[in-house]
Symmetry: C2
Subunit: 505 residues, 2 copies
């Protein structure tokens, strides 16, 4: 036993080194997306490639593999729920995955990431997808190469989906998304045939500094610790964990639109609350991470939409918001404001989309990813396929690449596939989790009206956050809600909320 204890300790030391190096990677990546001077991109790419190589060497070190092999029989005798058994289960799975990917792929991949990001920025400046298309070709090639390191898949996208949503399969997601789309398309039709809401109160001039100050005020109230997190500016908002006590979120401020900064900050704060809620002793281990992109997104969307766009939330915050922006909002009633932030409209940009149309944006991307990977769609035809699907699903055609295929960073981040499904899975789960929290604590809505988020936050910590990656998404969902993933609570939530706003029957 003493020998095994020593081996377990050695395992944790090795995992800690990998974790610390990943923290450093995150630091470099955060800086690349916030403050890096333009000319510094090339050397940043070298730094990331080198670190990626060093991490991969450590992750695939045969001595680590031997240590895991030695510990598996010991872990099998422990309780499934023990930290020790769970850790070995996780690292065993991750090790088996890592050793299939050769180091040459990793260094190629990391160099490619930085180059593609830079090319994407240039293509955006020129509003021209063809400028970045060769990099996307390369990304697609890398994605196929990657998938083929895991032969025996049902669908070529499965190994890529597995990266962010472990255990989910393309065919299963296709089915769920199909059902959802069948319900959403007529709902969008029903809502947009009317014009009962008006977003114009949000489209006045709102100075940057006050927008940031109010956003900071809100997330502090939600429970985001300023000692353990920070907010910076970027092009495309994101949350990144440097370490368990250093979680960073970013936003962009549009001075002619109050909602962009505010709701993107609440969204990223939701991600951050998840990370900050992980059991502190897990910091430095692979447990210290959200368990899947879907569960992660459920938290950003829960805080952004289910809470942040609810009437109760603004009963508390709206008077304060009016104090920040008296000339813009003193003549706007709470009800007008509530309708404005829940205005449903067919529009081309995913991250600006309302709750009802949002998933149609995601489903389009998911389907296009599968088509690219299946070889049914070529990269050069992507902008055209994009326009076609937007017309057929959302009833609009983007006017240019910036409004279309160039809008999201994901396809310009090194690989294609598995990047988008998490958003809609997250939406579905946000309602499923919230329903369970309400079953346990029916007082939550009234507390929110008082600006008190503690009961909800504690429930989320206890049932989701604290575990980090100790359990899989499937396990977490079952533990927290008593059932597996289901779209019913989400459809119920959307119909109830928007049925009321738009007086649907």
């Amino acid at each position: 036993m003493i020998l095994l204890d020593q081996k377990y300790q050695e395992l944790k030391n090795r995992l800690r080194e990998i974790y610390d190096l990943q923290s450093v990677m995150s630091m470099l990546s955060w800086d690349q997306n916030t403050y890096l001077p333009q000319a510094g991109f090339k050397s940043r790419s070298n730094q990331l490639a080198l670190l990626g190589k060093i991490i991969h060497e450590k992750e695939t070190d045969p001595a680590l593999g031997q240590l895991i092999e030695d510990l598996v029989p010991w872990a099998d005798k422990l309780s499934y729920d023990s930290d020790e058994a769970s850790l070995i289960r996780l690292v065993h799975r991750e090790y088996q995955k890592a050793i299939r990917v050769p180091p040459s792929f990793i260094s190629q991949f990391h160099e490619h990431i930085a180059q593609t990001y830079e090319a994407w920025a240039r293509a955006r400046e020129e509003n021209d997808f063809t400028k970045v298309a060769p990099y996307v070709e390369k990304s697609l090639e890398l994605s196929r190469t990657y998938a083929n390191y895991f032969p025996g898949y049902e669908h070529i996208a499965d190994p890529l989906i597995n990266e962010s949503d472990y255990g989910m399969k393309a065919h299963q997601i296709r089915q769920i998304f199909g059902e959802l789309r069948d319900q959403l398309v007529p709902l969008v039709d029903q809502i947009t045939s009317q014009s009962l809401t008006d977003s114009s109160p949000l489209l006045q001039h709102y100075p940057k500094e006050q927008q940031l100050a109010f956003s900071q005020y809100v997330i502090k109230k939600l429970g985001l610790s300023p000692q353990r997190s920070r907010l910076d500016l970027t092009i495309h908002p994101f949350m990144i964990r440097i370490s368990g006590d250093d979680i960073r979120i970013t936003t962009q401020v549009k001075e002619d639109d109050l909602s962009f900064c505010l709701f993107s900050v609440i969204h990223e704060a939701g991600h951050a609350l998840y990370e900050l809620g992980i059991h502190p002793p897990y910091d430095g281990t692979p447990f210290y991470d959200g368990t899947s992109s879907g569960v992660h997104e459920s938290q950003s969307r829960l805080w952004e939409n289910v809470i942040g766009r609810s009437r109760g939330f603004w009963e508390h915050f709206y008077p304060r918001l009016q104090q920040y922006f008296p000339s813009q909002l003193n003549h706007v009633s709470l009800e007008q404001f509530y309708l404005a932030i829940n205005h449903v409209e067919r529009s081309p940009i995913r991250i600006e989309a309302d709750e009802v149309t949002y998933n149609l944006h995601v489903i389009i991307r998911f389907d296009l990813e599968l088509a690219l990977l299946e070889g049914k769609l070529e990269v050069k035809d992507l902008p055209e396929a994009w326009r076609y699907r937007y017309q057929s699903d959302l009833g609009i055609t983007p006017s240019c690449d910036l409004e279309g295929v160039l809008q999201d960073v994901h396809w310009y981040s090194g690989m294609i596939g598995g990047a988008f499904q998490g958003y809609t899975i997250g939406n579905i789960l946000s309602a499923q989790f919230y329903e369970s929290a309400l079953k346990a604590h029916s007082e939550i809505p009234n507390q929110i009206k008082q600006g008190n988020f503690e009961t909800l936050h504690n429930w989320l910590v206890d049932h989701i956050y604290r575990y980090g990656s100790k359990y899989t998404a499937e396990e977490i969902i079952l533990k927290a809600t008593g059932s597996s993933l289901t779209i019913q609570p989400y459809l119920y939530y959307l119909r109830k909320k928007f049925g009321e706003i738009y007086s649907l029957n």
Copy 2:
């Protein structure tokens, strides 16, 4: 020959990896001093320690040593001035140094750095040196341990001085500083017995954003590329190179003092111009670095003082400064402003000191460092020794630790010794270099009055910057000025400038 070419290429590949990892360390360190959330210090310390260990492993890899040994005879046959011979000369010296320091020391040292920095921040909050004293004890112990890895030194401080000012010795610096002090003490007496200048125009309310905007305007005019550099806020201003195309400077803004931000930014910009002027192909090699702390400081002080506090400089910039701050400066004449920024006063803070008293601050620190290392002074007695020397040399007594021994970060950065001499060597050299530039181009002062810094900047690039660390400080000084380091030009400069301002005979 082909084999040697291959070996030389392999050497450069290895050096590039070390360089890239040092870039990453610099990135972490920049973040630690600018944006790191408070609770993130502990994990940052782990990250730095781990990277320090990995770098040290690569720097002392026996395979690197063998490569160098194989290349030394080849390099000996090449011209002394060739890049190849110079690179091997430098890495041979550095490798011989690195292998004397055991890995255990390095990891201990890196952990200690972060802890000490944090303790220093706390001690500053409480204005109490005793809170950080145990860390300083440890720093002193580490410094002695380090020095003793290099037996055969003349003075225990020599190996530490060698770190930043290669080739200089404590006894030689002591002699130069002694001569300088003998001249400065009576000069300060002579000046401060009068009261011909007045700094009050600088001590009005100057809003932060405008201060930063004007500082940015000035450094851009001096030639600092916004594509290759950036400016952020910190407690204690510094310049740091991430890579050759990513140089960062920092400042602090005091809204009740115009001069702090402005001159610290010009100072750090001087450091940045040096780094940005290094021959671009040297990026990724050990050449891409200033050659010594003294030469580095000569550039910050040249731009800050010799240029930035000259009358000609403000003939160009003052009307623009008045546009930024009309209510504060429209009633202040150029001559009043010139006198204000050159106001000489005995004061407790080094980085706020004028040009004449500044070196007395440095010489005190240098002497105290030597006394600590020699064991003639104990850490617990440092605040008292500090007060004593300030009274005897500068005629003032600091009112508290914040105004005294806690003011500079250097002794709280891991080691003690070799940290301060560069400032005064830099002042001496700033005048020596400028004199040589004027000999070659007598038109420089007139160009500066027009806001044209190109001739001076080009001369500095050609004679100093472009070489980076290819040559030692001694070699650079000789090449650029035709003589070795001498205090005469500096004394001549001070006497001429302040003799005129204070009407001395």
